[in-house]
């Protein structure tokens, strides 16, 4: 059996209305979606942590077990609502190290490619 490794995912989110968002509401929403689509059996293997959340630039970094990558990406993609207003989460990049993810984030910020507008 192989040792479990970590994966980090950089995501970006869009909210249609101005609603109060914090780390807790985002992580609770992700957990809720994970339970909805994959149940306790799969969810218990994920080891999900919200490492960072930037409310101004609307991005965040999640950490999870490498075996659950597809499950986490699906759950992020299936999110549509938070407090009855539209919220969409777009995974941008997955990496094995936080250093690499931050490097990617920096280049995206410099090139001004992080911003989405609806």
């Amino acid at each position: 059996m192989k040792l479990e490794r970590q994966r980090y995912i950089l995501f970006y989110y869009i909210v249609e209305k101005d609603i109060i968002i914090d780390g807790k509401s985002i992580i609770n929403l992700i957990w809720k979606n994970l339970f909805r689509y994959f149940g306790i059996k799969e969810t218990s293997k994920i080891g999900l942590w919200l490492i960072e959340l930037n409310l101004e630039e609307r991005w965040g970094i999640l950490r999870f077990a490498h075996t659950s990558k597809e499950i986490v990406i699906t759950s992020l993609g299936m999110i549509r609502y938070l407090q009855n207003s539209r919220l969409s989460i777009y995974p941008i990049k997955t990496s094995g190290t936080i250093k690499k993810i931050k490097k990617i984030l920096k280049t995206l910020q410099l090139e001004n490619k992080l911003l989405f507008k609806i």
């Binding site: 869009i14 249609e16 909805r36 689509y37 994959f38 597809e70 499950i71 990406i73 699906t74 992020l76 993609g77 299936m78 549509r80 609502y81 539209r86 969409s88 777009y90 995974p91 989405f116 609806i118």
Partner: protein
């Protein structure tokens, strides 16, 4: 060739909205987009096509979707599309229409985008579509239903139709067909959804989102070329 968003409903009277939608899809990393008018038009206006293609650095293709009620209506409708240079699709619950469409070389896509229609898919249509080189279309939109029970039912319907398609080895692809801009997801997320919720392999998911739609475009190019009589037959001199 990059990933395809094979069904983007647009209002042809709102040019700015079309461009906004295309720009958003470009940011999501789609390289190719197929637009479908929500207005009841028979053909895409040439000027608009040129304007859209000049307005964005994306490969934009155009399609018309027909919704006939019976065979007689379909035959009447399709007369106008003998020299149609864009993609033509037909959407119907009627099995006779589906079989007719699979045999007709003017029709490129038989669409099964809505669960009510997806339920009516039969192995016969799949075999014929493979034989006549037409494409079967499914859609992600029903998967994004907020109601858990309807969503679960829809996933099951698409799952079983996809199994049947994969067993029959037919040409298929999965389009978005999302009404709202905020429903669109990046190709990476759509591949994950295929792998987890629809239990497809990575190769099959890539076929559905990239390789098969590009085959459809290749087929379209041969349709336009007057020297090509049918698949594999070309006038050299």
């Amino acid at each position: 060739m990059g990933y395809f968003e094979s069904r983007v409903p647009v209002d042809i009277e709102k040019y700015d909205n079309i461009i906004d939608r295309l720009k958003f899809l470009q940011k999501l990393d789609f390289k190719n987009v197929i637009l479908e008018p929500i207005n009841s038009i028979k053909k895409w206006p040439k000027k608009l096509i040129e304007k859209i293609r000049k307005g964005i650095a994306l490969n934009v293709y155009f399609r018309i979707n027909l919704k006939p009620k019976n065979i007689a209506e379909l035959k009447q409708m399709i007369k106008k599309y003998n020299d149609f240079s864009h993609i033509l699709s037909v959407e119907s619950e009627n099995k006779e229409i589906q079989i007719y469409c699979a045999r007709d070389t003017r029709i490129d896509i038989i669409s099964f985008s809505y669960p009510k229609i997806t339920k009516t898919l039969t192995p016969g249509v799949l075999s014929l579509s493979k034989q006549y080189n037409s494409f079967i279309e499914f859609s992600f939109a029903p998967i994004f239903n907020e109601n858990k029970y309807i969503q679960s039912k829809n996933i099951r319907i698409i799952y079983s139709a996809l199994r049947m398609t994969l067993v029959k080895n037919a040409n298929y692809f999965i389009s978005g067909n999302f009404p709202s801009l905020s429903d669109y997801r990046s190709p990476r997320v759509l591949i994950s959804i295929c792998q987890t919720l629809l239990d497809m392999s990575l190769n099959n998911a890539k076929l559905a989102l990239k390789d098969n739609p590009s085959k459809l475009i290749e087929k379209l190019n041969t349709k336009i070329d007057p020297k090509i009589i049918e698949n594999g037959v070309k006038i050299i001199k």
